[in-house]
C-alpha cells in the first residue's frame, strides 16, 4: 500500500508496509509489520520518523501524495533504531529539512549510527514545545521505552500522541485503524509485541503511564510506529499496558521443552496431565515447532514455567539454551518454576536449566525430574506429580 492516509485534518500516515518480514531480529513476525511515519501539513511541514532503509521509496511515494518532499521543513526522530531511521540519510538528502528534532540521547545515537556532524540537529528536552503554525508539538522523553533515545511527540490541538515503538504491533494490514480490524487479534499482536520488546522495562513504563496520567494529556488517537492506529477507545491500549507492566499472572503454566527422541516430550505430556488434574490451565510449547517469541507471549501471563530438555553432549539442547537466554533478557517476574528432562548416561540438563531458572529469580519449588532413556510408568508418575505440585503452588497464589 503506497498511499497516504489522512488520519486527522492535515495529519497523514505516510509509512511503509512490510508484508514479507518473518524474522524481526529474532521475533517471529508471521504477519509482517508496518513502519509508520506521519506527515503534518502546517506552516512548518513536519515529518515524524522515517522507515527501514529498503522502504525509503515507499515512504517518498506516500509523501509525494501529500507534498513535494523538499517542502518539508522539520523532521522529528522519535527513535533511532534502524527500522525507523534507516532511511534517514536518503530522506535527509531528499528533503533537506531546516531542523532535525531529537532527544538529547537521540542526537548521540544518530551520530553513532550515521556519523553526520553536519545535520541540523535541534535537541529538545523533555516537556519542551515547538510551534508548527496552527499546531503545537510537545516532546516527551521516554528513555528505555525502549531505547535510551526514545521519545513521544504529542500534537496538542489535535490530541494525537505519536508514541514511537510503544503501543505498536507487528502486523501488516491495509487497514490503518484499530476499529477496522478484529479487536481480539489486534490485542494478541499487541501482547506479543509487549512481551518481546517492552517487558524488561515494565517498571519504567509503569512510571511513564503514571506521569502521563498526571499531565492529563487529552488523547483522541495514539499513533505507534508499528501496526494499527488506536482511534476507537485509544486508552484501551494504555489500560492493557498498565496490566502488563504489573505482570499480573493467571492460573496458568507454560511447559516449554525440546526433545531428541520424544522421551522428554512424553514427560511434558505427563506434567500437563498433572496440571490438568488439578484444574490449572497449561500451554505446551514444543521448541521443535514453536518460536521463542510465541513462548514469551504465553510466559507473560503465566504463573509457572516448567522447562524441559534432553541432555545432549553433557548440555541442554541448543534450542532450550536459546530459549532461556532470550527469556532471561526479557526479565519476566514472579514465576514459579521447575525443570525436567530425559538423558542417556550423564544427565546434566535438568541441573543446568534449574540453575538458569534460579538466576532469573524464578521460584524453583521442585528439584525437577530427570529420567534415563525412555520413561516407564514409574517415571511418568513422577512427572504427573511434578505437574500437580506446580499446580498447587499456582493455586496457592490465588
Amino acid at each position: 500500500m503506497r498511499i497516504s492516509v489522512e488520519i486527522k485534518d492535515d495529519i497523514f500516515w505516510v509509512g511503509a508496509l512490510d508484508w514479507s518480514v518473518r524474522d524481526f531480529h529474532g521475533y517471529s513476525t508471521m504477519k509482517g509489520t508496518t513502519y509508520n511515519a506521519y506527515l503534518v501539513k502546517d506552516d512548518k511541514v513536519t515529518l515524524f520518523d522515517t522507515v527501514k532503509k529498503p522502504f525509503k521509496g515507499d515512504l517518498l511515494h506516500c509523501i509525494y501524495k501529500v507534498v513535494e518532499p523538499s517542502k518539508i521543513d522539520y523532521l522529528v526522530v522519535n527513535h533511532v533504531e534502524p527500522d525507523h531511521s534507516g532511511a534517514l540519510p536518503e530522506i535527509m538528502e531528499a528533503i533537506k529539512p531546516e531542523k532535525l528534532f531529537c532527544s538529547p540521547r537521540g542526537k548521540k545515537a544518530l551520530l553513532e549510527h550515521y556519523h553526520r556532524e553536519d545535520w541540523p540537529y535541534e535537541v529538545v528536552p523533555s516537556g519542551s514545545e515547538i510551534s508548527l503554525g496552527k499546531r503545537t508539538v510537545q516532546f516527551l522523553e521516554t528513555r528505555m521505552v525502549h531505547w535510551p533515545d526514545s521519545m513521544f511527540s504529542y500534537l496538542k490541538e489535535d490530541r494525537v500522541l505519536i508514541s514511537s515503538d510503544a503501543f505498536g504491533q507487528h502486523w501488516a494490514t491495509t487497514e490503518r485503524f484499530n476499529d477496522e480490524v478484529p479487536g481480539g487479534e489486534l490485542m494478541q499482536h499487541a501482547a506479543k509485541y509487549y512481551a518481546n520488546i517492552l517487558l524488561p522495562y515494565s517498571g519504567l513504563i509503569q512510571k511513564l503511564i503514571a506521569e502521563v496520567q498526571k499531565m492529563d494529556l487529552k488523547i483522541d488517537m495514539i499513533c505507534p510506529d508499528h501496526g494499527l492506529i488506536w482511534r476507537e477507545n485509544p486508552l484501551q491500549i494504555v489500560a492493557a499496558y498498565d496490566a502488563w507492566t504489573r505482570q499480573i499472572s493467571k492460573r496458568k503454566a507454560v511447559i516449554v521443552f525440546d526433545s531428541m527422541w520424544n522421551s522428554t516430550a512424553t514427560m511434558a505430556k505427563a506434567i500437563c496431565d498433572g496440571l490438568a488434574e488439578e484444574g490449572v490451565a497449561a500451554k505446551m510449547m514444543d521448541l521443535r515447532v514453536d518460536h521463542r517469541s510465541d513462548v514469551m507471549t504465553e510466559v507473560m501471563d503465566a504463573r509457572a514455567v516448567i522447562a524441559g530438555s534432553s541432555t545432549l553432549n553433557n548440555n541442554m539442547l541448543p534450542r532450550m539454551a536459546d530459549m532461556l537466554t532470550y527469556m532471561k533478557g526479557l526479565r519476566p517476574q514472579n514465576k514459579i518454576a521447575a525443570a525436567f528432562g530425559s538423558f542417556g548416561w550423564s544427565g546434566e540438563s535438568v541441573r543446568m536449566i534449574t540453575k538458569t531458572l534460579e538466576e532469573m529469580k524464578f521460584k524453583v519449588i521442585n528439584p525437577g525430574v530427570s529420567l534415563q532413556y525412555v520413561p516407564a510408568h514409574e517415571g511418568l508418575r513422577q512427572c504427573v506429580e511434578l505437574g500437580r505440585d506446580i499446580a498447587r503452588a499456582v493455586k496457592a497464589e490465588g
Binding site: E141, R143, M144, P148, P200, Y201, G203, L204
Partner: protein
C-alpha cells in the same frame, strides 16, 4: 570502590570514572552520588542500582 549496576539497562557506575558528563568527578563513591542522580544511559533512579 564498589561498582554498581543499573538493573534497567545494565550500565555500570564505576566510582573510579565517575560520571563527568553529569558533573560527577572521578573518585565519587556510589553513596556519595546526589539523591537526584540518575543513570546516564536510561534515566533510572539510584534505587534501581545494585552492587555489581
Amino acid at each position: 570502590m564498589q561498582k554498581y549496576t543499573c538493573q534497567v539497562c545494565g550500565y555500570v557506575y564505576d566510582p573510579a570514572l565517575g560520571d563527568p558528563d553529569n558533573g560527577i568527578a572521578p573518585g565519587t563513591s556510589f553513596d556519595q552520588l546526589p539523591d537526584d542522580w540518575v543513570c546516564p544511559v536510561c534515566g533510572a533512579d539510584k534505587a534501581s542500582f545494585e552492587p555489581e
